[in-house]
């Protein structure tokens, strides 16, 4: 549980620190006069979709941190752990996910610079690379079960399938949002409207890349 606690503590500290800055030295019972122009209580950077994504990422962090904690506790608790071999394909998959992240970053930049063609090209490329990743993961499963590494035979296998499936599911959710964005872009929606979606997709992809590196690292290390 240590990992989970550390991550949650980080989330909590950020959150509490921000609350503290908002509330320290405030005397809530003092009313303001109506004459002064009241300041906006929310900084401009934080738009609702951005904050929504951040909160959602905190939830996903919690899901993966707990799964990884469970992984490590289960590994320590008994002697039946036999590590899964790592098929070389995993490295290729990782590379395609890294590329997807980079490409989406380029697409985001294109969106901020108003370059519609470039945006469309790189956005689609990012999605395709991700689909390659998910299909690659599927092939890895096939390889493993062909090699006799079934889910029920060992907890290491079970965790491998569970974690990769959980991660792939999150990517598929992201691909749904990506598909909608692409459709809107091709349908001729205004750049300004699409930009927010591209940005959210990109951030989400970066996040899932970090998660994948953590999961992959864990599997390599144990």
């Amino acid at each position: 549980m240590t990992i989970t606690l550390i991550l949650l503590a980080l989330i909590m500290v950020t959150f509490v620190g921000w609350l503290f800055s908002q509330s320290i030295n405030v005397k809530p019972w003092v009313a303001e006069t109506g004459k002064t122009q009241l300041p906006s209580p929310v900084p401009h950077f934080f738009t609702a979709p951005r904050v929504g994504l951040m909160v959602f990422l905190a939830v996903v962090t919690s899901v993966f941190a707990l799964s990884i904690s469970a992984y490590m506790m289960r590994m320590e608790m008994s002697g039946d752990w036999r590590s899964v071999p790592e098929p070389g394909l995993l490295w290729l998959n990782t590379a395609s996910l890294v590329l997807a992240s980079v490409v989406l970053q380029i697409a985001w930049r294109a969106a901020t610079h108003g370059n519609r063609q470039r945006l469309q090209r790189f956005l689609i490329m990012g999605g395709v690379l991700t689909i390659v990743f998910v299909l690659g993961q599927f092939v890895v499963w096939q390889q493993l079960s062909a090699g006799g590494y079934y889910m029920a035979t060992n907890p290491a296998n079970a965790f491998f399938y569970m974690l990769t499936a959980l991660h792939a599911l999150h990517l598929l959710g992201g691909l749904a949002a990506w598909g909608r964005t692409v459709a809107r872009l091709r349908g001729g929606a205004g750049l300004a409207r699409v930009r927010a979606s591209v940005e959210l997709c990109t951030l989400y992809w970066h996040f899932l890349l970090v998660v994948w590196i953590a999961v992959f690292g864990l599997i390599l290390a144990t």
Binding site: K27, P28, W29, S78
Partner: protein
């Protein structure tokens, strides 16, 4: 107004309830007086806070109840007061926590001179293991359970050969000697709890947990299961008899070791056949049972159950109640058997007899019985085939008139109330769900319809039954 009075009455009444209610901690029978001490401290501190807060609230409600031309006082906060209250609370909490942690330190530290016993939980039965002369337990694995190895002791492990195995739910412990209780489970979670000892802990399959205590009072104590373990959780009972050291030593010496049990010869069916001659008159040549002589079918019962019942009859655990006339007859016959070997032989022989379903003599609503049987199926099997692992005999194909009579006996406490008849007492608890005679007949009518069930033999049962 009413609210204030109610608050005062409830607060004081709650405290009075503590002093005057008939329910309180059971009399302590172990060294854990310190646990009772922490409970007392907590009662005093929380009681005082409870009364103080509620009286304050009652006074506030009375004094500051709504008046039309009055205004409430305006005071957003009072830092000094809040700091004081925080500090006082912290001190109070520390006063509760410190003794608790101190006693916990003792609780987790087993004394050097403690002797050991292992308590094994299974659905819905307790058994025990002592480490034997070498003072060490042999390794156990659930995968090894079977073929008479009830505990799953590893036969390769030399430490396990002298382990003393107590398969009955009754165990003896010597007085005034600290004992480390190691807990294991064969299936699901259990919790070995004797309220008078205060200490308790869960038993978890796949790992061992522990606690320790020193029994300080002679006597018989009932152990219950305190962690939900399935349908018969409420009927999972054990017994701890605290005795003098000498009595304990004698008792322990009588119990078989793992080595004894492994070396024990299986029952001799030929000798059993000769012994069975005396049963023929009532139970019939093939053990088919005869209603005319009120003797039930024996064929189809597993050796474990037969051995246990013969012991029960012989030791006066069964067949001594005035309401059980036929049981009294049986007791006379059982006492004519010459001991351990005879009982094993005869049981082994009866197991070889062929099963033919008995004719049904009872009418009842089998459909209603099917729903009632749901509870029975947990131990006796969905087909009534009997499950030796649960100490539950076969029901399918047995004489229905006999089942009805025994269910009556269980329900009315004629059978199963003897303190040493632990499984019988489970049946007493279970038979209570048969609220009337028609329910009883219905469930037996359903059991009669199950007569095609497959046979089951001895399984992993030894023959040391309580």
């Amino acid at each position: 107004m009413a609210m204030a009075i109610v608050l005062i009455v409830l607060a004081l009444g709650s405290v009075a309830f503590y002093f005057f209610s008939p329910w309180n901690l059971t009399p302590l029978a172990s060294n854990w007086g310190a646990i009772d001490g922490t409970i007392d401290i907590t009662f005093w501190v929380t009681g005082a806070v409870f009364v103080a807060i509620n009286l304050f609230m009652a006074v506030a409600i009375l004094r500051y109840r709504y008046k039309q031309h009055k205004r409430a006082h305006y005071q957003p906060e009072n830092k000094k007061l809040e700091a004081w209250l925080t500090a006082l609370t912290t001190i109070g909490i520390a006063a509760l926590l410190a003794p608790g942690l101190f006693v916990w330190g003792a609780f987790v530290t087993v004394p050097e001179d403690a002797h050991e016993v292992e308590v094994i939980g299974q659905q819905w039965h307790w058994s025990y293991r002592f480490p034997g002369e070498d003072g060490e337990f042999g390794a156990v694995r659930m995968g090894l359970v079977g073929n008479g190895n009830f505990f799953g002791v590893d036969p390769e492990d030399s430490r396990g050969q002298d382990d003393v195995l107590v398969q009955s739910p009754r165990v003896l412990l010597p007085i005034d000697r600290p004992v480390k209780v190691t807990l294991r489970s064969r299936d699901v979670l259990h919790n070995f709890k004797v309220p008078q000892f205060r200490a308790k802990m869960d038993a978890i399959p796949g790992q061992a947990s522990y606690f320790w205590f020193t029994p300080t009072k002679l006597g018989e104590f009932e152990a219950v299961c305190a962690e939900l373990c399935g349908v018969a959780h409420f009927a999972m009972r054990g017994r701890v008899d605290v005795v003098e050291q000498a009595a304990f030593d004698d008792w322990l010496a009588e119990q078989p070791t793992f080595g004894d049990l492994a070396a024990r010869e299986p029952g001799d069916t030929e000798a059993g056949a000769e012994l069975y001659v005396r049963c023929v008159a009532c139970h019939g040549p093939q053990g088919g049972g005869q209603q005319a002589t009120n003797a039930p079918r024996l064929a189809g019962l597993d050796a474990g159950y037969l051995t246990r019942q013969l012991h029960n009859f012989r030791d006066g655990v069964r067949g001594t109640h005035d309401g059980d006339r036929f049981g009294q007859q049986m007791r006379a016959f059982a006492m004519s058997l010459q001991g351990e070997g005879d009982i094993r032989d005869i049981a082994a022989y009866i197991e070889t007899l062929p099963i033919e379903p008995a004719r049904s003599t009872i009418t009842g609503d089998a459909q209603r019985g099917e729903r009632l049987y749901r509870t029975c199926a947990n131990c006796h099997g969905a087909q009534g085939q009997g499950m030796p692992a649960f100490n539950a005999p076969r029901l399918a194909g047995m004489n229905d008139w006999y089942l009805v009579r025994q269910l009556h006996h269980f329900r009315d406490g004629i059978r199963g109330r003897h303190p040493q008849d632990i499984y019988g007492s489970q049946m007493v608890d279970m038979a209570q769900i048969l609220v009337d005679d028609s329910a009883l007949r219905d469930v037996v009518a359903y059991i009669s319809s199950l007569s095609e069930a497959p046979t089951v033999t001895g399984g992993d049962q030894g023959s040391e039954e309580g």
